[in-house]
Amino acid sequence: MGDMNVVKVEAYRNSFLKEVEANVEGGQWVKMCMQCGVCSGSCPLGSAWDHPPQELFMMIRAGKREEVLTSSSMWMCTSCYNCIVRCPRDLPITHIMHGLAHYAERLGLAPKNQPTRKFAKLFWNNLVKKGRVNELKLGVALYFMNGLVEGIKTALKMAPLGLNMLKTKRMNPLEYVGGHGIKDAAGLQAILKKARAIELAKAKKA
């Protein structure tokens, strides 16, 4: 992963914008931003971003590679799509934010302790195992993602909520040992492996 970062730095030495255009989902749209700020103003968590989308777009064009890719900003996206429907230039902003987050992750530059990054990884690994999300395992993994001590504190805090879910049969303790899944999990994993291989081969060329 770190190697890929070195390769990309070498390849795009003078233009982070070109790097984003070639490597990030939706990246070819970045140059279309006219800096109106509607996206930043429309974001429900806008105030929590170090750099809201409009700023990220300008920073990409200004070559601030390290600052953009190590930022926690794009991990604040809730996928509400407000920015997409309001952007006067029709930029697929939500997808660009997801794309930036994924690219930063692939290069090993994403902030390690960013909670949504951790959760997103847990979610993916959870669903890939059996083809469907195991909500209970995901929840428990989430509580303990910052270590045992904090995990116990969180679990205690969340216990009444869990009990409510149990009482209304919206959670099943047996999910922890077995749980829902698809029949052809092996087939699904083969599909994902192939898809990842295609994507990585393209990423190396870009």
Partner: protein, 299 residues
């Protein structure tokens, strides 16, 4: 009336004993009344919702939905794909749109699917259940089935994000969609006019990873419903439903509020108005009991 059939994608949260299992129960009751047959896509998988991007990336993420579409084309040919979950619908529809417009992506996706002996043409429409209700059934027909009008109830139609953006429902605006309000009125209840937080984000998946920030938004969603005089909130999305219902205790503790606002699905309201039992309407799945709806089922 001829039975309508659809290729059904229920999604992870709708499974037995999962967080939106009560949604599925009420959908079944509603479809039974409206003579809608849902043919579940055999062996469907998770769509990775809006949080699959980080580890998954673009092609693996889209391949998840493509596999479901491939299975649907194989086993339920000629039927529209219908999802009840907002995220399932969004992910599948995004995949369909992109496959239809990007030849290279179509080729790569089929290369990946071939690893499990599948192929996709992306030729089935992908629809949310509310589109089926509005476009195929219609308000008038939905109204004809009402046996117990929800008279006297004031209901805030919380549309949220992903059934509204980026695709939305035909003929509705992104900023003030009216379909839930129309549905509420069709069932004999009173929609809250100008419900301020109708399309406000609840935090989605970030309710798990950023609980403080998300609960601040959820608080506003509930508060605005109280301000409008609502007895309950109705939503078309399993994430909205869960986020707005289950954290009310924690929000009360933090903000010294006294929230006890039931949050139900459109299908819950319909099942009750169609004369179904508490159990059939999924009312036993309410953490905050919808006592006014229970009173109607007993009427």
């Amino acid at each position: 009336m001829a039975k309508r059939e659809y290729s059904f994608y229920p999604g992870c949260s709708s499974q037995k004993a999962a967080s939106a299992s009560n949604y599925q129960v009420s959908v079944n009751a509603m479809c039974d009344e409206l003579d809608i047959k849902l043919n579940e896509i055999p062996d469907w998988n998770c769509c990775s919702a809006s949080i699959g991007y980080a580890e998954g990336g673009e092609l693996p993420r889209l391949a998840l939905s493509a596999r479901n579409m491939a299975l649907s084309e194989k086993f339920n040919p000629g039927q529209d794909i219908v999802a009840t979950c907002a995220a399932c619908w969004l992910a599948t529809r995004e995949t369909k749109d992109r496959l239809n417009h990007e030849d290279a992506l179509m080729k790569e996706t089929n290369e990946a699917l071939a690893a499990a002996g599948l192929k996709v043409a992306a030729n089935q429409k992908v629809r949310h259940m509310v589109e089926v209700l509005i476009e195929d059934i219609g308000y008038e027909e939905m109204g004809k089935h009402v046996k117990k009008p929800l008279e006297g109830l004031k209901i805030a139609g919380y549309v949220g994000c992903q059934t509204n953006r980026p695709f939305g429902i035909d003929g509705e605006s992104f900023e003030n969609p009216k379909y839930l309000d129309k549905l509420v009125a069709t069932l004999g209840a009173e929609p809250i006019e100008n419900y301020e937080k109708k399309v406000q984000c609840c935090g989605g998946a970030l309710a798990f990873s950023e609980p403080v920030k998300s609960q601040a938004m959820i608080k506003d969603i509930i508060e605005a419903a109280y301000d409008g005089g609502a007895d309950m909130i109705v939503t078309p999305c399993p994430v909205c439903q869960m986020n707005v219902e289950v954290y009310q205790d924690q929000i009360n503790a933090k903000y010294k509020t006294k929230f006890k606002m039931p949050v139900v699905y459109y299908s819950t309201l319909m099942a009750v108005a169609y004369g179904k039992s508490d159990k059939q309407a999924g009312l036993d799945g309410q953490i905050i009991k919808a006592t006014q709806l229970e009173a109607i089922t007993r009427r």
